[in-house]
Symmetry: C2
Subunit: 340 residues, 2 copies
DNA sequence: ATGAAAGCGCTAACAG
DNA sequence: CTGTTAGCGCTTTCAT
């Protein structure tokens, strides 16, 4: 066996480079060393295959170059995509990203925050399942490192990146109104979270701004993963059945489409459909479903920028970034059928 | 502001407990301290809200209680589920799990392993995208910590957890053969990875064991996320069209079902369908699709057990655990239509 | 079983 | 800009 696998420390590098330990450290950190020293140290490090000991670095500098990320559920493709985008973005900045699944469980979330603290994360990005929970708010208040809240309204002076759900839904409704639709249904889940609240609000605003009555066509499933087939079926059986559906994408689109198919309605001839959140399923469906899409990359950039600038300077005022939604028109939207 | 947020160190705890620093340390680690000392230290720690400094602990003990996990793509729900199960399992053992997306990109994978090394992971769990890539194999060879390979055949003396794809597919084929099906198609992607190879093998074995010719009905999509609508449509147009389809679940099931619907065939009356990998989509489809399902929890337990026992004792011989697949029968399988 | 003391590998503070 | 020195918070000897 090779005698020393990871035994090369900075002292060895310094010795080979013919400089002091301190200079070697400065050279490695790219600050306060002459070009000549830089060069010598870099070469020595490369020659020895030196890898800095992260724990020592963290212990001494009190900076871990690691951030924690607490998301409700990584098996939801939308969050998985955000995580991937975040990972890329942090990697670019030489930061490591830690993931924890909150699973809409305050206990789990609080525990994850505790782990983040203990492991000395430099910062945290989080989207709690229940944003109004007192225990969560308290855990967040005592958090010793900066936090950026993702698309939630959590009380406290945290930075936040907020998705413009209201604006997005409003735009879709206006588009549908323009095509002649009046009976537009909104299918969501009933959770008390910002995205849901704002979508409903955008829905209402669009009708009000157009001087139209807000239709009583709001369907709210019990859970974010529930099927809405029964509810949508019931909706479609009404005499004043909707001519357009705006449906939460990940889990509900499928059951909504099946309810439509079961009643032998055709998309978009008999009914138009827009999904909230883009997925392969929506894109590959026949007809391809128009969607309201989040720009994951831009969202990630915002989150990372907010967190990194705050880690660099905690004196900054509280900031809130807003990210718009993109309406991707595909083949599931048309003018409503003529009324008989 | 509160003067000290995280300034309570073990020295403070020891002082309050009236014992030495060393005893406090031993008490915290639950080894080599008297019950009385244990108690005093625990109380003092609780009273002060002491949280051990992880970096210091790692630096001194050379154990990070952290493992890295390198998966091809977390936005694939199947991997997302495995990750969640792993997270739970490691949390139970007081380990932290780090996730990196390999994205079927050897560069990215190698880099991730480098990060894992530098950050002092105690071990690694990985499912490389390309298991035969030389650079990857080399990166794995020089890895200074134990690795457990998940469902891949990577050369090297690593422990591995292997899913019994061959057995699973064979069982499904045998079930279909028993119902009278002969023209059974297998729809996968064409990647050169163990799961794909073993599924094909199980498919062949089933026919051979039954003394039947292996049908020439293998469809292989270019990528794991590609649509197979065109291919399946072509398949269904043949005079000897298959009466049963076994389809990779996550991305291909949807397009396969659409191809079936487009030809106005009904499941299961005209054609039976079995998906590989369970998803909400399969379960909620109408008719609900029978699937070959991985037991995520058991898989996670195996992986964690293998890794943790090896971390504890690196002298162990190489081990390979096998995990079976569960056939979940739903409504998409029936006897084949009568031949005209 | 306990206390005292010695570092783990690194960065930061201090002189020069 | 550089070398020297101290010490981050903890675990782990080594004596007792």
């Amino acid at each position: 066996m090779n005698a020393g696998k990871q035994k090369i420390d900075l002292r060895d590098v310094a010795r080979l480079a013919g400089v002091s330990l301190g200079s070697a450290s400065r050279a490695m950190n790219g600050a306060g060393a002459s070009a000549a020293t830089q060069e010598k140290v870099n070469q020595a490090a490369a020659a020895l295959g030196y890898r800095p000991n992260h724990a020592a670095r963290v212990l001494r500098s009190r900076l871990s170059r690691t951030v924690g990320c607490l998301l409700p559920d990584i098996s939801n493709p939308l969050y998985a995509q955000v995580f991937r985008a975040l990972e890329d973005e942090f990697l670019r900045h030489d930061y490591l990203l830690l993931l924890a699944n909150g699973a809409n469980d305050v206990d789990r979330e609080t525990k994850a925050l505790g782990t983040f603290t203990q492991r000395g994360m430099d910062g945290v990005i989080l989207a709690p399942g229940n944003e109004r929970n007192a225990a969560l708010v308290e855990a967040l208040r005592v958090l010793p490192m900066p936090a950026v809240v993702f698309d939630r309204e959590v009380s406290g002076a945290h930075d936040a990146v907020l998705i413009d759900h209201a604006g997005g839904v409003r735009r879709v409704v206006e588009h549908l109104l323009g095509l002649g639709h009046r009976d537009i249904a909104l299918v969501l889940w009933q959770g008390d979270t910002r995205p849901v609240r704002r979508r409903v609000q955008g829905f209402r605003t669009a009708f009000q701004a157009a001087g139209l009555p807000v239709p009583d066509l709001l369907v709210q499933a019990r859970s974010v993963t529930a099927s809405v087939k029964a509810e949508v079926t019931e909706l479609l059986a009404r005499p004043d059945r909707p001519t357009a559906l705006i449906v939460q994408g990940t889990h509900m689109l499928n059951s909504a489409l099946r309810a439509i198919a079961a009643r032998r309605l055709q998309v978009p001839r008999d009914i138009s459909v827009v999904a909230i959140g883009d997925t392969p399923f929506a894109a590959e469906h026949d007809p391809a479903v128009s969607v309201l899409d989040i720009d994951q990359a831009e969202t990630a950039r915002c989150l990372v920028d907010l967190l990194l600038t705050r880690i660099a300077d905690n004196g900054l005022p509280q900031r809130r970034a807003r990210v718009g939604l993109r309406y991707v028109e595909r083949d599931s939207v048309a003018a409503p059928p003529r009324y008989s």
